[in-house]
């Protein structure tokens, strides 16, 4: 892929480079990327249905349309590599290998959930997988990701942290502080901006006077890279380079992925919105990261249409099974309300 540019301007979208780069990615990896995306998609669609039907409490921010970002980044990470996530965090955890049963159980607020029902959608987390939590605070994640990267360096591991954040979040002061610290210490971190064009219901050109969040990279002395966030292989390659750079100890990268959310900010409606036209939504849906990737895989003879359909079906089955498990699992007992507020002393002396 092209050189990430340093200090200011931003390189051309990675997807302009044409399809020949896909030959560099192994068949197994292509199928892995596909599978990660399908798992997210179906997880989210089903979660959305449950939410609309009133079967899941609270607010769900769905990731549908943006799957290529989580899949393309997470394919490079192992459990010891950390990520921080956002209010739109299910996709990140699914892509990082999250257990669907525990995820659904959490969405339902059940005891078997990742957070024992105490966190819900906006706080879903799996520290064992290096998923340091979805976050209800826009801009809450970047400083924490910097802390994880600092820790990786301090402990002399080869691990990296990846910090997911939105175009809207790029206007929060915490992003600025985190990026500056990361560049200063040359920390092993990648700032992954999921630019879906909106912060809630406010279009990007109404929340910042720049077009590319990657332009901010130069402010900190780190390279900024722009990639087509609807193209999973483009994300995969750009993320791979940024992550490798971080692992080599060469410091952070700001990777901006241009993407779009198909649903509304919250819930599953997506059309007929005051803040965007249906036409715009349809344009982006034509670039559906899964459908377009499946077409390409089919052309390449890697995945036939019926094979793809079978994968969807298998995942759907798995998801439904997880939902059934979750919905049938018991809610937390009120007696646990005051548990888990503090870590209790490890016992005597200390």
């Amino acid at each position: 892929m092209g050189e990430p540019h340093a200090y200011g301007g931003a390189s051309a979208p990675a997807s302009d480079w044409g399809d020949d780069r896909m030959t560099e990615i192994t068949r197994e990896m292509l199928l892995d990327l596909h599978q990660r995306m399908v798992r997210i998609r179906i997880f989210e669609e089903e979660a959305g249905r449950l939410s609309e039907a009133g079967r899941i409490p609270g607010a769900l921010h769905l990731y549908v349309g943006e799957e290529a970002v989580a899949a393309g980044v997470m394919a490079h990470l192992e459990a010891a590599d950390q990520i921080t996530s956002t209010h739109r965090g299910h996709g990140h955890l699914v892509a990082k290998g999250g257990d669907l049963r525990q995820m659904y159980a959490e969405l339902f607020g059940r005891e078997a959930g990742y957070c024992k029902g105490k966190g819900g959608s906006m706080h879903i987390a799996d520290l064992d997988l290096g998923m340091l939590g979805a976050n209800g605070i826009v801009g809450g994640g970047p400083p924490i990701a910097v802390g994880a990267a600092f820790s990786n360096k301090y402990r002399k591991t080869q691990n990296v942290s990846c910090c997911f954040f939105g175009d809207g979040a790029s206007n929060e002061g915490t992003f600025h502080e985190a990026a500056n610290i990361a560049a200063l210490y040359r920390l092993p971190i990648v700032f992954v901006c999921e630019n879906n064009g909106f912060g809630e219901f406010t279009r990007q050109d109404r929340h910042q006077a720049i077009q590319d969040v990657a332009d901010r990279a130069g402010s900190y002395g780190m390279p900024g890279v722009i990639v087509d966030g609807m193209d999973v292989t483009a994300v995969y390659e750009a993320a791979g380079e940024a992550i490798a750079r971080a692992r080599r100890g060469e410091g952070p990268t700001l990777l901006e992925c241009k993407t779009y959310r198909f649903f509304d900010h919250v819930g599953v409606r997506g059309m007929g919105m005051v803040y965007r036209t249906d036409d715009e939504v349809l344009q982006w849906k034509r670039r559906d990261p899964i459908a377009t990737f499946e077409e390409r895989l089919q052309e390449m003879g890697i995945l036939a249409a019926d094979q793809a359909a079978a994968i969807h079906e298998r995942v759907l089955f798995e998801v439904r099974e997880a939902i059934a498990f979750a919905e049938n699992s018991p809610p937390p007992d009120p007696s646990v309300l005051l548990e888990d507020v503090y870590t209790l002393a490890a016992g005597g002396g200390r």
């Binding site: 819900g120 809630e200 406010t202």
Partner: protein, 334 residues
């Protein structure tokens, strides 16, 4: 001071806020509203619906997600002659603009020897009950009441929401208007004119003779329900809605307790260090010899707000929590 029961028109809380802002903006061209998604979208809670159409984008301003920046925008504008209303979507997000609010807005007048005037209203949404979990459900009003230079109001219903909003915007100091999600849909008679509920004056919502409940915001309707139940026990409960938390109307509360001899404070915030502590401390200071029982406190238990509805329903205090605590207090006397 209480809404006329006869008033024909009932409005839901959210519409009362909307009407207050609309009428204030009509009244005074220096008033403007800024916040995240308050213009085109009309705010995620609907409080600014239709304002953009009427007042245009100069006076109804969508901002980036940058609370400290927005708060500073309000401060700088207020210090130079405008009368801003700054919307901070959830009270939990005050944590990202505390310096601007606490070190700048609250102290500017004092630090500058009195020479600043800061007619700034901060409008926000607190409280639980909607499974929005630990970062979208907090009640942090006690923090702000501890900061000299700030005023804090907490409406208990649609009538109060409008009248206190009007007073807040007309006040020449930074005033935080703490709304609660639990009240947004609740309707009450709301006069159509631009009335003002004076800051710093408590309201006796229900007169009573032998027990005082001081209830904050959404706990007022709960306290009224509790009073009904307790009436069956032979208790004649007086319910006081302070309306303004800072400055606090100690006089009204103390006068009540001198009459009733027993009191309890109820709020949705965490009990430890909540405003109930201050109110209880004041009551025992000012009415010590009149007290027949310790001043009770009802608040949330000492944990973050949990997500699961099962847990949250045990977390947020209700009429039952109040009844139980009052009975415990009185049983203790025996």
């Amino acid at each position: 001071m209480t809404a006329p029961e006869s008033a024909a028109r009932r409005l839901p809380y959210v519409m009362a806020v909307n009407e207050a802002i609309t009428q204030l903006m009509r009244e005074d061209p220096a008033v403007f509203l800024a916040g995240e998604d308050v213009a085109l979208y009309g705010s995620v809670f609907g409080i600014s619906r239709n304002l953009l159409a009427e007042f245009g984008p100069e006076r109804v301003v969508d901002t980036p997600i940058a609370e400290a920046g927005i708060m500073g925008l309000g401060i700088g504008a207020a210090a130079t002659g405008l009368r801003p209303i700054i919307d901070i979507m959830f009270m939990d997000f005050m944590t990202v603009c505390m310096d601007q609010l606490v070190n700048q807005a609250a102290k500017m007048k004092y630090m500058f020897g009195g020479k600043a005037r800061l007619p700034l209203t901060i409008h926000t949404m607190a409280g639980g009950g909607r499974s929005m979990a630990a970062q979208h459900s907090q009640s942090l009003e006690a923090w702000f009441c501890h900061v000299p230079g700030l005023k804090v109001v907490m409406p208990s219903g649609a009538y109060e929401a409008k009248g206190l909003m009007v007073a807040a915007v007309r006040d020449d100091n930074p005033v935080i208007v703490v709304n609660q999600k639990a009240l947004l849909g609740a309707s009450a008679p709301v006069p159509e004119d631009l009335y003002e509920i004076p800051l710093g004056v408590a309201n006796i919502v229900r007169p009573g003779s032998n027990f005082t409940i001081v209830a904050l915001g959404a706990m007022v309707p709960e306290a009224l329900k509790a009073a009904e139940t307790l009436a069956e026990d032979g208790l004649d409960v007086e319910v006081i809605d302070p309306r303004t938390l800072q400055p606090f109307d100690t006089g009204t509360v103390v006068a009540s307790v001198r009459k009733t001899h027993r009191a309890l404070v109820a709020h949705e915030a965490v009990r430890f260090g909540g405003l109930g502590a201050e109110i209880a401390a004041q009551i025992q200071e000012e009415a010590f010899d009149h007290l027949d029982a310790p001043v009770g406190r009802v608040g949330a238990p000492f944990s973050p707000v949990p997500f699961s509805p099962v847990l949250e329903s045990h977390y947020v205090p209700t009429a039952e929590t109040i009844v139980t605590e009052v009975r415990r207090l009185l049983g203790r006397q025996a």
